[in-house]
């Protein structure tokens, strides 16, 4: 299909982008990699009146270590995130997640900021950011602010970003010494996750000392699984991890769609949590499947 007609401006600075968006009103939208927005426009499911192309704003691109955190600019592509050496420790989760998004074409065009701003519950990066207790940074006409990932994703395709605000990047704790894994379950290689499980695990000699689980496509937003996380603390054997994973059923019932019923999603989440945690723990003998 062909999109409905729209205006296009290319911004040369963040300030200019913000002014253009403000002038364009509520139907103006930033354009980053275009890999979520353009498909929707072609189906005429999105009809922005104005696209403000922020693709040239190099200030929003790149990965930098900053003390115990890593700061990633919004325009950093999935491909760049996947190869970022700054992402060490638990934050390495983001690189693992990014390398499994879509196909090479998508990874070279799609951006972290676009993925975050789009707030698709089936997108992979949001669950990882949630598991890492990341913060999303935003710029608006009134200045900048940051919002915890847990507060940023408020519903399917809905975020805490206000109209006219631009996501400038994310700040992620490094979690040195923690291991991570992402288990994505999909039908075809380039598909979105039917269920995705991000696990960040602090494995010590006496077993799991801390764990965070982020879930993709198990609800209207990315979710944490607090019951599972609590039950994982102290676990040191496969059976204990499996038992902890089963606590995912305490979460609200996930949606059903053409790929999976709710019941099957819960089952998949259990299996994938156990596998992701075992992989993240990196402990021989715990690996399964």
């Amino acid at each position: 299909m062909i999109p409905a007609s729209f205006d296009y401006e290319r911004a040369s600075s963040l300030d200019e982008a913000l002014s253009l968006l403000a002038a364009g009103g509520e139907d103006a939208r930033p354009l980053a990699g275009g890999h979520s927005l353009l498909p929707l426009m072609r189906l005429r499911l999105a009809r922005p009146s104005l696209l403000v192309d922020i693709g040239g704003l190099d200030e929003l691109r790149g990965v930098h270590a900053d003390g115990n955190s890593v700061v990633i600019g919004a325009l950093t592509t999935h491909h760049e995130v996947a190869g970022a050496s700054e992402l060490t420790g638990g934050s390495g989760l983001l690189a693992r997640v990014a390398e499994g998004i879509g196909d090479p074409q998508v990874r070279h065009r799609g951006t972290l900021g676009g993925s975050v701003a789009h707030a698709d519950p089936a997108s992979d990066l949001p669950a990882a950011l949630l598991a890492l207790d990341a913060e999303v940074t935003l710029a608006g006409r009134d200045g900048t602010r940051s919002v915890a990932a847990a507060d940023f994703f408020v519903g399917p395709f809905m975020s805490a970003a206000a109209d006219g605000e631009i996501v400038t990047g994310v700040r992620v704790p490094k979690r040195e010494g923690w291991g991570s894994a992402y288990r994505k379950f999909q039908r075809r290689a380039q598909d979105w996750a039917i269920v995705g499980v991000a696990a960040v695990v602090n494995w010590t000699e006496s077993g799991i000392a801390g764990a965070a689980i982020g879930l993709t496509n198990m609800g209207g937003t990315p979710l944490r699984a607090p019951g599972v996380e609590a039950a994982l603390v102290g676990a040191s054997e496969k059976a204990q991890i499996t038992a902890a994973a089963s606590k995912v059923s305490e979460l609200e019932t996930p949606p059903a769609d053409e790929n999976a019923s709710s019941e099957y999603r819960v089952h998949l989440a259990q299996v994938l949590i156990a596998r992701a945690v075992a992989e993240a723990a990196g402990c021989p003998g715990m690996q399964s499947g």
Binding site: M1, I2, N259, Y264, L272, G289
Partner: protein, 788 residues
């Protein structure tokens, strides 16, 4: 005739590829004519709805719009409804099918209005302004639900949703079942599939008002057939229509073997407006407006002895036709009707099929057409029989194979030429290392882990070379099955082949060049192949049903022989000897015993063109034609093997190996044949594991794009292992059979059988297609006595 085969059998690179790989393909979307207008259709969003009113005024007033019409506005354009050419029974119900619906819209996608504008964008924008007031009615989308007594009727003029029932009985079926030790009774669902040709459909129609001539460019597989049917639908004298399938048509798989509303509509609009009109489908629009395939419920019963020797077959299927009858839709199940006994024996056979209307996109021939469905049923059922009688699945096939031979009588009623089924099975087992596989499998089972492996077989025989015209008559098909070729030597010694086939990805230009180059003894590069334009190739039945090589290719071969015959007379005349005194080899005639007295084909071509000295009774020029009507079908066969690994925790299936041993007779070009097998196998595996078009109860197509209609990509497949046995057909002089659909026909049951085999120790006996992870997981749960 002694011809050194230099090109035939060799893997010369396809002539078509350089331009396709470098973006120089000539596809219809690139065609622009002076003054050309663009049409956009308004389609019903309802499965079933009365069209109470259509208001096109806002659309007509929009920028760039020339005119907008409702179905009623166009009613007097049609001399007849859209054609259906295969009325399989005398009492078949054939509904009216107008290019634009007039009173009732019967599926989501049924056209209700059209907007014509100076650009495609303007037409698409304005189409949103057409206001249609619908009286929404209850829809029925499921083939079994449509057969219920109280089902909503798709066509109110018919008493129920049945279009026809067609039956075939051979032998005493009740007796065969009465004496059987075992009867297996299986029910299978053939999901509805959406053909995904790389190039969506498109059409451009041009009229010359002063002469009444029309030229229609269409992404069609059947320019010649379409020409006849356009004439009938639009009431235009046939001689005034020229149909052109562009040099490059990007795939069809049956989806362009049709006469579509948009084709008729563009011609009608060009006639009304006196300007060229173009329509190009979007991908999702194509999902609604281009035919679908399959969508059948199958019941198959096999009667056998306790040793697993099959005695008889009983088959009953319900086949969705969709909302209307497209070009050959009723006949699609008939192409499988004779094959529910596969390559196996037996005494008796009964087949019965009911065609059913549903409020869905019409179905029609999709790669394999009837034969994948039949092969799936018998190849799944014979595995069920193997389990029932405790015989190995490879062994039960071997035990029941028809004997090797020519014209071997099958219980389905056909006589198969070139039957020799065991060597293909043997070769497949050898490539697999069957014993090795079974011991690996036993080890995995003992280990009890979550990754279990299974193997599945499918030994198929299929029907190609459509078709002897007289047989088509007996099946009530309204056209012949012949095809035509003209081979013309050009004055410079090159050759031109004019073919009645209409290639759209198959590589006919390459294969026909190989055939002609060998027969005429000229370089392969010196052969040009012309196709797809009814003004260039006056006769043709075109390309579908794996028929092109076995019919049109044989016509090329025969026409070449005739050219060589004529050349012999000319050579004899010029060399002043009797024709019998000449030897012909590799394009050169030489006098027997005097090998330096020769005439080459290029020399003769020039002599025939100058016509300075010709034999008596001979005309200038060196060309010949052949219209070939095959005496019989051809019957390719083979054995396919799938090896899968199933994750029993999640139900995910990983296809680990795929082995295809096919017998299509002598191979013209192994690269092309492998390509056909690869693509065909991929499409069959897609049906087994991924693809399924689904409708909501109200008639909404849920799988409306490639996001949720799961067309797999290369990443989902292992490297296919292909091999061949070669048993020439006795029905044509080249011995060729056809390979276009074999991959699709053989593959789906092999994959599902492999999944069932992997899980058989858990008690699983069936997993429906497509075997999604959830379905596999549920099958395991159910077999284990779980709730799922």
């Amino acid at each position: 005739m002694a011809t050194a085969e230099k090109y035939v059998g060799g893997g010369v690179p396809r002539k078509e590829d350089p331009k396709l790989l470098t973006g120089q393909g000539q596809f219809l979307e690139g065609l622009t004519l002076p003054g050309m207008l663009h049409a956009a259709l308004v389609r019903s969003p309802h499965g079933s709805a009365r069209i109470n009113s259509v208001d096109v005024s806002a659309a007509a007033a929009a920028e760039g719009v020339v005119v907008a019409y409702s179905g009623a506005d166009l009613a007097d354009e049609w001399a007849a409804g859209l054609p259906m050419a295969w009325p399989v029974t005398d009492d078949i119900r054939i509904p009216d099918h107008w290019p634009v619906a007039q009173d009732v819209a019967r599926y989501v996608g049924d056209a209700v209005a059209v907007v014509v504008a100076t650009s495609r964008n303007a037409a698409l924008d304005a189409a949103e302004l057409v206001e249609v007031e619908y009286g929404v009615q209850e829809a029925v989308v499921d083939v079994e639900a449509a057969l219920a007594d109280d089902a909503p009727r798709v066509h109110e003029s018919f008493d129920d949703n049945k279009s026809y029932t067609w039956a075939l009985t051979n032998g005493d079926v009740d007796a065969a079942f009465a004496k059987a030790d075992v009867v297996v009774s299986e029910r299978y669902t053939q999901p509805r599939l959406i053909p995904n040709a790389m190039e969506p459909r498109a059409v451009v129609a041009q009229s010359v008002p002063s002469t009444g001539d029309f030229t229609v460019w269409s992404t069609t597989q059947i320019p010649h057939v379409a020409k006849v049917l356009f004439a009938l639908t639009l009431g235009i004298p046939e001689g005034q229509i020229r149909v052109i399938a562009p040099t490059d048509v990007g795939g069809g798989f049956g989806s362009k073997l049709n006469v579509y509303a948009e084709e008729a509509l563009c011609i009608a609009l060009a006639r009304r407006l006196g300007r060229p009109v173009k329509w190009v489908a979007g991908r999702s629009e194509g999902y609604l407006a281009t035919i679908h395939g399959r969508d059948q419920i199958q019941q198959i019963e096999i009667a056998a002895t306790s040793d697993g020797d099959i005695l008889g077959y009983r088959v009953n299927i319900a086949a969705a036709m969709g909302a209307y009858l497209q070009l050959v839709a009723p006949g699609v199940p008939l192409l499988g009707a004779f094959l529910y006994c596969g390559c196996y024996g037996g005494e008796a056979y009964h087949f019965e099929c009911t065609g059913v209307f549903t409020n869905t996109t019409p179905t029609d021939a999709y790669r394999g057409a009837g034969r994948p469905e039949a092969t799936y049923a018998i190849e799944r059922a014979i595995d069920a029989l193997a389990r029932e009688v405790g015989v190995d699945p490879a062994e039960i096939r071997r035990r029941n194979f028809l004997p090797a031979g020519d014209m071997v009588q099958s219980p389905g009623g056909l006589a198969f030429d070139s039957a020799d089924y065991e060597p293909a099975l043997d070769r497949a087992l050898e490539l697999l290392d069957y014993d090795g596989f079974r011991s690996d499998q036993a080890e995995r089972r003992e280990g009890g882990g979550s990754r279990q492996i299974g193997v599945g077989f499918s030994s198929y025989v299929e029907i190609c070379g459509l078709a002897p015209s007289q047989v088509l008559a007996s099946l009530k098909y309204a056209a012949g099955g012949w095809d035509a070729a003209t081979v013309r030597m050009l004055p410079t010694g090159k050759a031109e082949v004019v073919t009645g086939s209409s290639p759209h990805g198959q590589g006919h230009v390459t294969s026909w060049s190989q055939i002609a180059a060998d027969a005429l003894g000229i370089p392969y590069e010196d052969v040009t192949v012309l196709h797809g334009d009814t003004h260039v190739a006056p006769h043709g039945m075109n390309t579908y049903g794996s028929r092109s090589l076995a019919v049109a290719g044989v016509a090329v071969h025969n026409a070449c022989d005739r050219v060589v015959d004529k050349a012999r007379g000319l050579a004899a005349h010029l060399l002043e000897v009797a024709p019998e005194d000449l030897e012909y080899e590799a394009g050169t005639f030489s006098v027997k015993g005097v090998p330096d007295r020769t005439k080459s084909m290029p020399e003769l071509a020039f002599a025939a063109w100058t016509a300075h000295s010709l034999p008596e009774d001979s005309e200038p020029g060196l060309e010949a034609s052949c219209v070939y009507d095959p005496p019989n079908f051809t019957f390719p066969f083979g054995t396919h093997v799938a090896v899968v690994e199933v994750d029993t925790d999640t139900g995910a299936v990983d296809l680990v190996r795929y082995i295809a041993v096919d017998d299509c007779g002598p191979v013209i070009n192994p690269v092309i044949v492998d390509g056909q097998v690869h693509g065909g196998v991929a499409q069959g595996i897609a049906a087994a594991l991924y693809e399924e078009a689904t409708y909501a109860e109200d008639g909404t197509l849920e799988t409306s794009s490639m996001v949720n209609y799961l067309v797999p990509s290369a990443a989902e497949f292992p490297s296919f292992e292909t091999d061949r046995t070669v048993t020439p057909s006795t029905s044509n002089p080249m011995g060729v059979k056809g390979i276009g659909e074999a991959g699709t026909i053989g593959s789906a049951p092999a994959v599902i059988n492999a999944i069932v085999d992997a899980l058989s120790h858990l008690g699983v006996t069936d997993v429906p297609m497509p075997a999604s992870p959830e379905r596999v997981w549920r099958a395991i749960q159910a077999a284990q006595g779980g709730e799922a």
